[in-house]
């Protein structure tokens, strides 16, 4: 896809929100490089711009200025439709609030993501079976979200996020709503996805213990990155 180069390249990224007449500078010149297969933890105080960075890298909202390249695509020149395609093919999200569709079963939640990516085939898919095994939700697939525990919901959300083999998985406080046992399960699963399938993962967390699951820790403060990790291959 992008032969050995960085999978995320962010340079001097700024994001300004306008609320009425007040301007909020959420990102004030962020620089970040991530290589394929990395698991990066992002920490920082509330309001430091972590989620905003994810939203831009994941194509949910445009940047105000700066360079953003994701999997070889230049996001700064991308239209709304272009970002939609990015979300369906290249990046996927896991949220603190799980964000499963409440009307659908776990299996159908996963099927929606496949459908949107245009992969509707229903035949055997050993790789996906492997993921389900790894996540340990194979038995809970025919339940609706309200019949699942928080840990189970988050595991379904992870399955939904990786089902289309995205280049990047963005997890915004994935354990923020979970107790410590479930947190450890979910973090362990993310680690295995990273190690066994080579999934590139960026994870925001407030918990230093959780952050330690990443290869590197990036900390943010006031819309800037204050400690850049060393390059992976070093």
């Amino acid at each position: 896809m992008n032969d050995g180069g960085p999978i995320i390249h962010v340079e001097n990224l700024r994001k300004v929100f306008r609320v009425g007449k007040v301007e909020v500078e959420a990102l004030r010149g962020v620089n970040l490089t991530v290589t394929p297969g990395e698991f990066v933890s992002i920490i920082g105080p509330s309001g430091s711009g972590k989620s905003t960075l994810f939203h831009i890298v994941g194509g949910l909202t445009p940047a105000t200025s700066g360079i953003v390249r994701v999997a070889g695509k230049d996001l700064s020149r991308m239209s709304d439709a272009g970002r939609t395609i990015l979300r369906k093919q290249t990046v996927s999200f896991v949220f603190q609030r799980f964000n499963l569709l409440p009307t659908l079963t776990a299996a159908d939640n996963i099927a929606v993501a496949r459908h949107l990516a245009g992969r509707n085939h229903t035949g055997a898919d050993p790789e996906f079976e492997q993921i389900l095994d790894l996540l340990g939700i194979a038995k809970r697939l025919h339940h609706k979200p309200n019949e699942l525990s928080g840990g189970e919901q988050q595991r379904v959300a992870i399955a939904r996020a990786v089902v289309n083999r995205p280049a990047i998985l963005l997890a915004d406080e994935p354990t923020g709503n979970l107790d410590s046992v479930n947190s450890q399960t979910v973090l362990g699963l993310l680690k295995r996805l990273n190690q066994e399938l080579g999934q590139t993962i960026l994870m925001i967390t407030h918990d230093p213990e959780a952050a330690a699951y990443g290869d590197h820790i990036v900390s943010m403060r006031d819309g800037r990155i204050v400690s850049q990790p060393p390059a992976r291959l070093a």
């Binding site: 939203h55 994941g58 949910l60 909202t61 439709a81 939609t84 395609i85 990015l86 979300r87 369906k88 093919q89 996927s92 999200f93 949220f95 964000n99 499963l100 569709l101 409440p102 009307t103 659908l104 159908d108 099927a111 929606v112 993501a113 459908h115 949107l116 990516a117 509707n120 939904r160």
Partner: protein, 366 residues
């Protein structure tokens, strides 16, 4: 997959679904019932006209085929004149007098001649006139007015005795003695219309042709031809009335769906945000909302058709004589089209709003 999303959305909130469908069903029922009633009344009219057993009808000058004849401008001498014409076996005149209700009239008949023309009433109870102030009514009228043979009834501000109750389907629902009704209404010696029976129905055209030269300006109809005229398209007022009702139904359907889908979109803001975060395009979201509206409209139409049957049953029980009901399956596709049209138009605005929602704000929505 999109079907499943829509279907589960609809199932997930059964009360909202049911209410929306019910609200869509109401205008459908309205249109179908009105069309059914109009057609039922015309059909009933046609049947009763045929029930007279005549071959030819002579109307007063300037009358149209359906005008309610309240005056009686044909001189009675016409009967004798018509009976002298070749092939004419029998001629009998009637007068028609409006009663209180908007659709109800009484016919004054010469019972003896009328009996010869139609082969006689089939009495369910009672029998023919015995005195001047007797009426004969049909079964529907008796049922609706709750009268039996021998009861008295007030019509035209007078007391009448119900002498006989007959099977429906002949000319009218209420019959009085011709001469008595003529006298009561100041039409002594005058008739509203005249029915002719011929020696053989094949001679109808010949007779009409010769009568037309003799009686200029009198509309003369063959009863066969008359029967084919009882359709909605021949009654322009009815046609435009129904068109107006369809318009109103569409506006109601539009408003209902618009409101209902607007609520649905609001309720589902987060779900739309989730779908967008998964890469759903605007077209996908819009398509989902429109499909849901179409589903609601389809369910509403079926419900509306069901309600029409219930309404018909109610009318048939409460007022069989004024409102002969008729179901109109050929209008069902039209009803579906009306509600689908209203639904799609009504869902367009909420759907576009949902499609262009900001995904981050949508995900933050409680």
């Amino acid at each position: 997959m999109i079907q499943k999303l829509v279907w589960e959305n609809v199932r997930h909130r059964p009360l909202r679904t049911l209410l929306s469908a019910l609200l869509i069903a109401i205008p459908v029922t309205l249109v179908l019932t009105l069309v059914g009633l109009s057609r039922g009344m015309l059909e009933d009219h046609r049947r009763r006209t045929q029930g007279v057993g005549a071959d030819v009808l002579v109307r007063p000058k300037g009358a149209s085929f359906m005008s309610g004849t309240t005056s009686a401008p044909i001189p009675e001498a016409m009967i004798a004149f018509l009976e002298k014409q070749p092939h004419v076996k029998l001629a009998t005149g009637i007068v028609v007098q409006p009663l209180s209700g908007p659709f109800s009239t009484a016919a004054g008949i010469d019972l003896e001649k009328f009996t010869r023309m139609n082969g006689g009433f089939r009495f369910l109870s009672g029998g023919p006139f015995q005195q001047k102030d007797d009426v004969i009514v049909d079964q529907y009228f008796a049922q609706e007015q709750k009268v039996r043979a021998g009861d008295t009834i007030t019509l035209m501000n007078r007391q009448w005795t119900v002498r006989g109750i007959v099977e429906p389907g002949v000319l009218n629902r209420v019959f009085m003695d011709l001469r008595h009704l003529q006298d009561l209404t100041g039409n002594t010696g005058k008739l509203g219309q005249i029915y002719l029976k011929l020696d053989a129905p094949e001679n109808t055209d010949t007779v009409i042709a010769s009568l037309k030269t003799l009686l200029e300006d009198y509309p003369i109809w063959s009863m066969k031809e008359l029967a084919t005229l009882y359709t909605m398209d021949n009654v322009p007022a009815l046609r435009s009335f129904i068109n107006v009702m369809i318009g109103i139904a569409m506006v109601i359907g539009f408003a209902v769906v618009c409101l209902s889908m607007y609520m649905a979109v609001l309720q589902r803001t987060r779900e739309v945000g989730i779908l967008k975060s998964l890469g759903a395009s605007r077209a996908f979201i819009l398509g989902m909302i429109l499909r849901e509206a179409v589903l609601l409209a389809a369910v509403g139409t079926v419900l509306g058709i069901g309600l029409t049957f219930a309404g018909n049953w109610l009318l048939a029980t409460l007022a069989p004589s004024s409102f002969p009901p008729s179901t109109v399956p050929d209008w069902w596709p039209m009803a579906l089209l009306i509600s689908l049209g209203g639904a799609v138009l009504g869902a367009l605005y909420p759907g576009m709003r949902a499609a262009s929602q900001d995904p981050i704000e949508a995900l933050a929505y409680e």
